[in-house]
């Protein structure tokens, strides 16, 4: 059974004000994204009960965590917390660290054996934190939080202090937590790339305000994301499924809403899902199908849905396309004028590069 989390927070700091109101789904992975100073960590600390918002309302399922009178302290909220640093207790062995919260939990749904197995910690149990690598320590920290059988796992930039390789090592474990234990995760980060393969629901904050929230596909179709993530990161996130592998040319064919996309061969079984990110700067448009041969492999038919606001000082414009799911393209204002695009018009979207979210790998296909 899933519950939603109702959040209304207002908090004043000198020179900063956090004011958000939203409802989060009590399942899957929710990523709270924002640049530094967006208030995302404060948001998480309020959820955890580490800080008390000046005025706020927090409700998990039918339990009120905070309103005008009530304030449930952190140790009674039954949330698991994972921070940027692992914060393991140096005087305790890995097993003792893992069991610290477990021994203080009354209703235990998760146990040492299964958590150690899922997170690959069996061989580390008798060691001490100073003998572990950064990635191992972070896995122990996740396991320790999980062993309190939390109703909610809150993660504050848990991978920020790790290098790319270690990050890639841990992400599958976080995915397994969701799959195996069904513990909803709220994950705060300023780096979208590291979690794009995990995220179900996105919350975008900027300067203490909510920019957008909702399912990842919907939020990534919003051109306002540009202000938060930078123009290079703007682009639609699409759910596709693997249709076939073409060994001769080293390609994998993906189905996207009845149209085909080609990507470099992936080690994924046919029928499995694959999430891809298509940056708007990698999409160009034509009003007619290519007359002659073209080297562009991926051409999708789409309808112009919305033409972004024209900035007379800028040279480019963002176009929202409907290809069964929103697709974003950034073209020059001059091209817009040449093509004379109108909402509802049929166009061909030439996709120059596709980013396979699971491998952090971007492929140019031309």
């Amino acid at each position: 059974m899933t519950h939603s989390i109702d959040v209304k927070l207002n908090m004043d700091y000198p020179g900063f004000n956090l004011d958000v109101e939203l409802s989060l789904p009590g399942k899957g992975v929710t990523v709270v994204f924002g640049p530094s100073g967006s208030g995302k960590t404060t948001f998480l600390r309020c959820l955890a009960g580490l800080e008390r918002a000046t005025s706020g309302y927090l409700k998990w399922a039918d339990q009120i965590w905070q309103d005008e009178e009530i304030f449930i302290p952190i140790h009674q909220r039954k949330v698991g917390l994972v921070f940027q640093e692992s914060r393991l207790f140096p005087h305790l062995s890995i097993q003792e660290n893992l069991l610290y919260g477990y021994h203080r939990t009354v209703e235990r749904n998760l146990h040492l054996d299964e958590v150690a197995q899922v997170l690959g910690l069996e061989a580390l149990l008798q060691r001490y934190p100073d003998k572990l690598s950064g990635g191992e320590r972070q896995r122990v920290a996740i396991g320790r939080a999980l062993l309190t059988s939390p109703k909610l796992l809150l993660m504050d930039e848990p991978l920020a202090s790790l290098d790319m390789q270690r990050k890639a090592e841990i992400i599958p474990f976080i995915k397994r937590i969701e799959d195996e234990f069904k513990t909803p995760i709220i994950y705060v980060t300023h780096s979208m790339n590291e979690v794009l393969q995990l995220v179900d629901t996105m919350v975008i904050l900027k300067a203490g305000r909510l920019v957008n929230s909702g399912p990842v596909g919907k939020v990534f179709s919003d051109v306002r994301l540009k202000e938060v993530m930078g123009p290079d990161q703007l682009g639609a996130v699409l759910e596709t499924s693997v249709v076939a592998h073409d060994a001769e040319f080293g390609l994998t064919q993906l189905d996207f809403m009845g149209q085909t996309l080609n990507v470099p061969q992936q080690n994924i079984t046919v029928g499995k899902e694959l999430r891809v990110h298509i940056h708007s700067k990698d999409v160009s448009l034509s009003t007619a199908p290519p007359a002659g041969a073209t080297s562009v492999l991926n051409i999708l038919q789409a309808k112009v849905k919305k033409i972004g606001t024209l900035d007379p000082k800028g040279y480019s414009v963002d176009i929202e396309l409907d290809a069964g799911h929103t697709l974003l393209a950034t073209i020059t204002r001059k091209s817009l004028s040449n093509l004379d695009l109108k909402p509802g018009q049929l166009v061909y979207a030439h996709i120059k590069a596709i980013k396979m979210v699971h491998s952090q790998h971007e492929a140019e296909l031309d």
């Binding site: 955890a48 140790h75 949330v79 640093e85 005087h91 610290y100 919260g101 939080a145 309190t148």
Partner: protein, 227 residues
Amino acid sequence: MNIPIIDLQPIWISLQLATVTVGILLVLATPVAWWLAHTQSRSRVVVEALVALPLVLPPTVLGFYLLIVLGPHGWIGGPVQALTGSSLTFSFTGLVIASILYSLPFVVQPLHGAFESIGKIPLETAQSLGATRLDAFFSVILPLARRGYLTAIVLGFAHTLGEFGVVLMVGGNIPGKTKVISIEIYDRVEVLEYAQAHILSAGLLVFSFVVLVLVYSVNRRLPVQVT
């Protein structure tokens, strides 16, 4: 050669005094040191200065005021005498009170340093794992602060053993009651019994040296805790 006869009673009283004083000080100094390490209150500097005062004050000054406060007409001594019928001054209890004040900085400061270097994060982490504040203190903070506690215990103990001025002012020199080792040494010298003074002094010297060597070597062996 005559083997000088040593009165063991002052040694025994000194050890009792130091043990009781350090025991009480650990309980009193822990919250003070914790508060000093974590507060943002402006009164912090005042409390810090008060705690450090016995370090710079001549023991006779401290002893003088204690004599007045604990005496039969003092704010504390008066009511206590009325209640129990016995005086705080020139008693073991009076000595304990005086020693607590006199050795306070030697216990508070190492704990303050230890708590400060541990920071708030381990406490917050323990609480996020379901521990109450008290539970978190005993299961996480105390083990992490063990070097600080060891230093505090040893310094507090050794300093109490070595005190002279305050004890003389508040406790007097009552054999079997308030006569401690340092006063016994003074007494022996006064009556020119240098042999006994030598044995007691050398004993105290060797004891202090051995204890400090032990503490420093144990402290080196305890790993520095990094979270």
